[in-house]
């Protein structure tokens, strides 16, 4: 059974078609790049998968279930925004994640926090934007989830942190789990991806494995992306 499956998934925001009859599947054990320009529908798709939006028509299932408490228990979601309460400190956040997610591995999180020299007593409001993003990523990646949905995880951080984040993603997910990374910074993630989904104007333009692209098209994902999404001269 596919881990994530969309069938004719459509989302209409007051006349604007954010997703238009999207069909796609993500199998277990894959790292998938959800790639597309800004406003292409990536975030909308991820929000529907997390139950934050209700589709206008069509279906989206995770391990055969419609988004709800049961799917949220197996999905680890990194939104593009900082969702942490700024009055909380790191220890309180770890308590929070331990309470709600049985798959949260506290020792992994503590290990990563130590590696990044983030004090457990530091409050979110005392942190820089970059540190907040790191803490959020640590919390999300310390879960032993079946599906990780990461929305622009490397968008606003420096290249060194970007490398750390990508290494973190690679070392923390297990073989049965899948990771969907939404981004437009393709060159940074290309080497870790198994599959790519190109999405443009709410429609799936291409779904393929990275190997297939290299063999059949003879180019990198980044090059193919630039070709597919080239603006008219």
């Amino acid at each position: 059974m596919a881990l994530l499956e969309c069938r004719q998934l459509t989302k209409n925001y007051g006349g604007v078609l954010a997703l238009d009859r999207v069909d796609l599947t993500v199998e277990a054990g894959r790292i998938v790049g959800l790639l597309g320009p800004n406003g292409s529908g990536k975030t909308t798709l991820i929000k529907i998968a997390n139950g934050l939006l209700v589709p206008t028509s069509g279906t989206l299932t995770i391990a055969g279930m419609a988004p709800g408490p049961d799917t949220k228990a197996i999905v680890s979601y990194l939104p593009e925004r900082t969702y942490l309460s700024d009055w909380m400190n790191v220890v309180q956040l770890l308590d929070f994640f331990c309470d709600f997610y049985p798959d949260f591995d506290r020792s992994t999180a503590e290990h990563m926090l130590t590696a990044l020299e983030i004090s457990p007593r530091l409050r979110i409001k005392q942190m820089s934007k970059g540190t907040r993003e790191k803490v959020q990523l640590i919390l999300v990646m310390s879960r032993k989830a079946r599906l990780y949905l990461l929305d622009e995880p490397i968008g606003g951080v420096d290249p060194a942190t970007r490398d750390y984040i990508i290494r973190t993603i690679l070392t923390n997910y297990n073989e049965q789990a899948s990771v969907v990374i939404s981004t437009h910074l393709i060159a940074d993630v290309e080497n870790v991806l198994d599959d790519v989904i190109f999405i443009n104007k709410g429609r799936v333009a291409l779904q393929s494995s990275v190997d297939q692209i290299r063999e059949e098209k003879g180019c990198s994902v980044d090059e193919l992306f630039r070709e597919v999404f080239r603006y008219a001269e």
């Binding site: 997390n50 139950g51 934050l52 209700v54 999905v75 979601y77 969702y83 309460s85 309180q92 709600f100």
Partner: protein, 267 residues
């Protein structure tokens, strides 16, 4: 999972509510102390202190109520409608649990605030010796009630009164929640629309209360019970009130639940 939501919501609200109660206790203590100062005492500073403490006590009493209401409404907005909503709505819990966690915590703090304010008022009355003077009157009222009503009726009035207060409080919070969740289902001007919805609900409620109140009293009084047996009249009034409060609370609950589940639109 509801218990975990409650635990974290109490933790988040207690960091504001507990200092507020400490402030109330301190201002009550200082006010009681200041009242022991003879107002005719010659040292002006002490009489100024007495007036000042009275003013601060009054402000703290009103402030405690306002802070309780404002904090509970703000928590719903901040935790569910802003970026924090991305975490809260992706927890493995149902919308019903999310809604009830806020409602239960709001209700509990409201009750604690009501008890704290009553205790503060009672303490100042005891300290000033006003309560001693009032006791004979209270006894007279109590014995009059006992002579008119059976113990069973008194208990049932007490229970009905409590139920009415609880349901009305829930309804009041749900009116805020419904307005906020409706306002935030739109793409723009979310806060402004929330205020507009709240004002619209308030006007609607006032209208219903004016007409409903008059017709309700006529309806329960028309067969002459009003004059013959006040106990039955009060009983009907209480039950009618509970019924109306319940309908209002249910309507706002359904609206809020529907908005959070189907029309959530986080920025």
């Amino acid at each position: 999972m509801l218990s975990k939501l409650l635990k974290h919501e109490f933790r988040a609200t207690a960091r504001v509510m507990l200092p507020v109660y400490v402030l109330l206790a301190v201002s009550t203590g200082l006010f009681c102390l200041s009242m022991r100062i003879d107002p005719t005492y010659e040292l002006r500073a002490l009489t100024v202190f007495r007036s000042l403490m009275g003013f601060i006590f009054g402000v703290t009493i009103i402030g405690t109520g306002i802070v309780t209401l404002a904090l509970m409404v703000y928590r719903f907005y901040k935790n569910y409608m802003t970026d924090e909503g991305y975490l809260m709505f992706t927890l493995p819990v149902s919308t019903t649990q999310l809604l009830w966690s806020k409602l239960i915590v709001a209700l509990v703090w409201s009750i604690v605030t009501a008890l704290a304010v009553m205790a503060a008022a009672l303490l100042t009355m005891v300290s000033e010796g006003i309560l001693g003077g009032l006791l004979p009157d209270l006894r007279t009222i109590w014995s009059y009630l006992l002579s008119q009503l059976t113990t069973g009726q008194l208990v049932s009035f007490g229970v009905e009164f409590m139920v009415l207060i609880i349901i009305s409080s829930l309804g009041s919070y749900l009116m805020f929640y419904a307005a906020i969740s409706l306002g935030h289902s739109f793409a723009n001007h979310k806060l402004l629309l929330s205020v507009v919805f709240y004002l619209a609900f308030s006007v609607g409620m006032q209208t219903i209360a004016s007409f409903g109140g008059v017709f309700g009293i006529i309806a329960i009084s028309e067969d002459g019970f009003f004059l013959d047996d006040p106990a039955i009249w009060v009983q009907r009034l209480a039950l009618g009130g509970i019924g109306v409060a319940l309908v209002i609370a249910v309507v706002f609950y359904v609206v809020t639940h529907l908005m959070l589940k189907k029309r959530l639109n986080l920025q």
